[in-house]
């Protein structure tokens, strides 16, 4: 499998503090890869570095055959990487339809756009019902659907999503993952997903990376790690596993 995205040894600083150190992640074409890890592990930092919101002090990010290290966010997006960042970044001043239309601004293929538009509205019927409503009036789950739909409308080659399950009811999370898996299977969309719950990641992903304290602790095929034991150890570290194990639903 050829790597579509290759993160090679990146270190990212917030002023003096290194949030991520020497992290390498590869995502093959058509793969679903999950990065899991506890709070403050550096997961969001890693995704924002791919998008060009942050620049690494060391290491490179390669997309296809292009080096995109330190590229502008808009250029990264135009190359085919669409990011759904942490927190729901709907434009509250725009209505639902305008939010979705922003997703199509880079495209010129009119007829295809309309088809994709229909696809997204079919996928999330709530959005169709609320087309003309201000996006800020949607519920949290509906906003999450909106930002995923909007990212899909860019017709990305790679979609990165930061914690799609945050604050959503388990039933809606199931639905979101169902949609994402379906998109991969039907359209060959490549996905890099950040998840807090390693259980969910092991279910959805082909491969997973465990990130803790800014470093990759473990990586491998989801199949091989399915029993969860190794992941749990890497996730919490050996010393404080006992302290925290009760707090997170495994």
């Amino acid at each position: 499998m050829t790597a579509l995205l290759k993160i090679d040894g990146i270190t990212v600083h917030y002023s003096r503090l290194a949030a991520v150190r020497n992290v390498s992640v590869e995502v093959g074409e058509g793969e679903i890869v999950c990065i899991v890890g506890p709070n403050g592990a550096g997961k969001s930092t890693t995704l924002l570095t791919i998008s060009g919101i942050l620049s690494p002090t060391e290491g490179t990010v390669t997309f296809g055959s292009k080096n995109i290290t330190g590229a502008n966010p808009e250029n990264v997006a135009r190359m085919g990487i669409s990011q759904v960042p942490e927190g729901r970044h709907v434009f509250t001043v725009l209505n639902v339809e305008e939010n979705l239309r922003i997703g199509t601004l880079m495209r010129r293929d009119r007829s295809e756009i309309e088809k994709d538009f229909k696809m997204v509205l079919d996928m999330f019927p709530v959005l169709a019902e609320r087309r003309r409503q201000p996006a800020g009036k949607l519920s949290g789950g509906e906003q999450q659907m909106l930002v995923i739909g909007r990212a899909l409308l860019t017709r990305p080659k790679l979609m990165t999503i930061d914690e799609p399950s945050l604050g959503l009811a388990p039933k809606i999370v199931d639905r979101v993952y169902e949609v994402l898996t379906d998109l991969r299977n039907r359209m060959g969309l490549t996905l890099l997903i950040v998840e807090q719950s390693s259980e969910r990641a092991l279910k959805a992903a082909d491969r997973i990376y465990v990130l803790r304290s800014g470093q990759i602790q473990l990586s491998g095929n989801a199949k091989d790690l399915r029993d969860g034991e190794k992941v749990k150890q890497a996730y919490f570290g050996f010393s404080d596993a006992a302290k925290h194990v009760g707090e997170v639903a495994f």
Binding site: A77, F91, G103, T154
Partner: protein, 305 residues
């Protein structure tokens, strides 16, 4: 009765000029979180563009003698070019700096522009009549003569506000600008080009400044190297009391300041009329004490690029 109409027309036309200037400031603040203190100097430059750049004591008419349509277009082009140049040379290098640094940058730009005008045109005021028909044509309303110019100022402002709203609400570029104003990073991650949106804001702001230049010069009949500064100061106050980041707030604020000034001008006893601005600023302080966020709340977040 006629006198009251006179006061109302004056109040609305002054408020309109402030509102137009405030919109120019508000647009840039919305997208870039920049309080552009050089906006007044953009207005000044639009007026100076009407004459030949020469140091002598008299104004040698240049664009001022063009056909009105050509005159308006040329003035807008000049001011827009200056606004874009300012973006490129001053504000683009400062894009990731703090809002305070940006503001200081705009002070510096204002200073540079004023001194350039003094160098090129000299610091002496020059008399320049523009469209003198507009002040000469008068309508008799209830026994008082109302000139065409203030009515034109009010009309032009209303038309421009409608056009701006249509642009922002119903064109793809306008929607991109509103999205970027709310969440610039997210907009960029969806492919909205930062340079494009910011340049667009400078173009609109410059075009609005140019219109203010012409209307103000037609009213004033004189060129001064700091003629735009009072407009900038009142427009800034207007955006503050209207609510920073809200364009509706800019208009409401501009109109309020203009109306209050005019009413004070008409109503204050003549001995203290000279201190009119003291009362205006006093009222501003009062508004800010009662409503620190401004009259109109902005939904946009405060985060920048």
């Amino acid at each position: 009765m006629g006198y009251i109409i006179q006061v109302i027309v004056d109040a609305l036309s002054l408020g309109s000029l402030y509102a137009l200037a405030a919109l120019g400031i508000g647009l840039l603040f919305g997208v870039l979180r920049l309080i552009n203190f050089a906006h007044g100097d953009f207005i000044t430059l639009g007026a100076y563009a009407l004459i030949v750049p020469a140091y002598g004591p008299d104004a040698i008419r240049f664009i001022a003698d063009f056909h009105p349509v050509a005159l308006i277009i040329c003035t807008i082009l000049v001011v827009v070019a200056i606004a874009l140049l300012s973006e490129l040379l001053v504000f683009r290098p400062l894009r990731y700096a703090s809002a305070a640094t940006l503001m200081v940058g705009s002070f510096a730009l204002s200073f540079v522009i004023q001194n350039l005008i003094i160098m090129i045109y000299s610091g002496r005021p020059k008399s320049l009549n523009l469209w003198s028909d507009l002040t000469a044509i008068k309508f008799d309303v209830g026994g008082v003569d109302i000139a065409l110019l203030p009515l034109l100022i009010i009309g032009v402002t209303m038309v421009l506000m409608v056009l701006l709203v249509l642009f922002l609400k119903h064109t793809p570029w306008g929607v991109q600008m509103r999205a970027a104003a709310e969440d610039f990073k997210m907009a960029r991650m969806l492919g909205v080009r930062a340079n494009f949106v910011i340049s667009l804001a400078f173009v609109l702001s410059g075009a609005l400044a140019a219109v203010v230049s012409l209307l103000f010069e037609a009213q004033l009949g004189i060129l001064m190297f700091r003629m735009g500064t009072p407009l900038m100061v009142f427009a800034f106050i207007a955006t503050v009391i209207g609510g920073m980041g809200s364009l509706v707030g800019s208009v409401v604020g501009g109109m309020s300041v203009g109306i209050v000034s005019s009413i004070l001008q008409a109503g204050l006893p003549s001995e203290i009329r000279g201190y009119r601005d003291v009362f205006v600023f006093g009222l501003v302080i009062l508004v800010l004490l009662l409503r620190p966020q401004g009259i109109v709340l902005s939904r946009a977040t405060r985060e920048r690029v």
